[in-house]
Symmetry: C2
Subunit: 194 residues, 2 copies
């Protein structure tokens, strides 16, 4: 509630915004920390005090998203098993994400800037790690199963996102829920039609 936290929050937003602007304009690798610092009007050192790297500034860890997914108690309400439950949660989270302000910009970058993949992948690894650990920890699944579930969930997320991003670049307006459900559907078909 002090001036400090306020300034700190604002600074984070400013750095993130500047990074996003610059990367959209110049590309990821052509954007240096110096560029970002200059644009915000601070020293390079300070940029590093807020974000560990360009990549972190560009896509700050969506810890809340991961926490939500990991914490989803897998109510077993449906008859679709743990995987089905998690995918359903994912679909809703994905729809939420799309409403986020910068999500579309980042999505476009994901398609247009190959270098972006390393940013996205980093996040995904954290998710897989957290999710599989949670599944094992709760005793719901055994090690290999938990890993598989986490990987498949993440794969579905990525595919849906990727499709969404391509549409975005092509100027096609896609409904996130619909798109995610199509992904889930196709995923199911892979295993039931063969």
């Amino acid at each position: 509630m002090g001036i400090r936290e306020e300034r700190r929050a604002r600074m984070r937003r400013e750095i993130q915004g500047a990074t996003l602007d610059l990367v959209e304009k110049q590309g990821l690798d052509a954007t240096t920390i110096g560029d970002i610092a200059a644009r915000v009007g601070i020293s390079e050192r300070t940029v590093f005090r807020y974000y560990a790297s360009k990549e972190h500034a560009l896509m700050p860890g969506q810890q809340s998203l991961i926490d939500t997914l990991v914490g989803s108690e897998s109510a077993h309400s449906t008859s679709s098993g743990i995987l089905g439950d998690l995918l359903a949660v994912c679909r809703d989270l994905f729809a939420q994400e799309v409403e986020q302000s910068d999500f579309r910009r980042i999505s476009r970058l994901m398609v247009q800037e190959p270098a972006m993949t390393r940013v996205v992948v980093r996040q995904e690894r954290i998710l897989v790690e957290a999710l599989s650990a949670a599944l094992v920890g709760r005793g719901q699944l055994e090690s290999i199963q938990a890993l598989l579930v986490a990987e498949v969930v993440t794969a579905a997320w990525r595919v849906a996102w990727q499709s969404f991003a391509r549409n975005e670049v092509d100027g096609v307006d896609s409904d996130p829920v619909e798109l995610f459900e199509k992904t889930i559907c196709e995923l199911g078909k892979l295993f039931h039609e063969g």
Copy 2:
């Protein structure tokens, strides 16, 4: 056939070997290009002429592996569909990999050095890219389906490998084919029991 190619090949092996040794001893991040260069007895600049980075030296692109998988003509011999075919090919390739000299060392590193994940992930992205592009290119699958297949295949590979690596570290001697088949089996169960 010339002296040059021979020396070049030997140099590549030497650099890779030195990198592996050093990383096992000191860890990935603690191992510098300078260390590697000194150990081989060459300049840092030359190391970069053979490998773009430590990571590349540690796990040179297994292009042949990717090519084999991508080129597997998906004979549709079995009734298990494209996914099943690819997974079967993967199982055999995995068994081959295990026989490779450095595969076990790298596997152990994968578990013990968290920094290794970025090395592995890079390879996997290349595989997904190549595989999905091939599937779409051959007209076998539509975009989303192809992406999903590629992601799932890669996920299975990673899970099987991860399990193998953990066993390796624990001193358990595991049969790669058996392990991969267990992974495939669990994967199938995820979709059929819910």
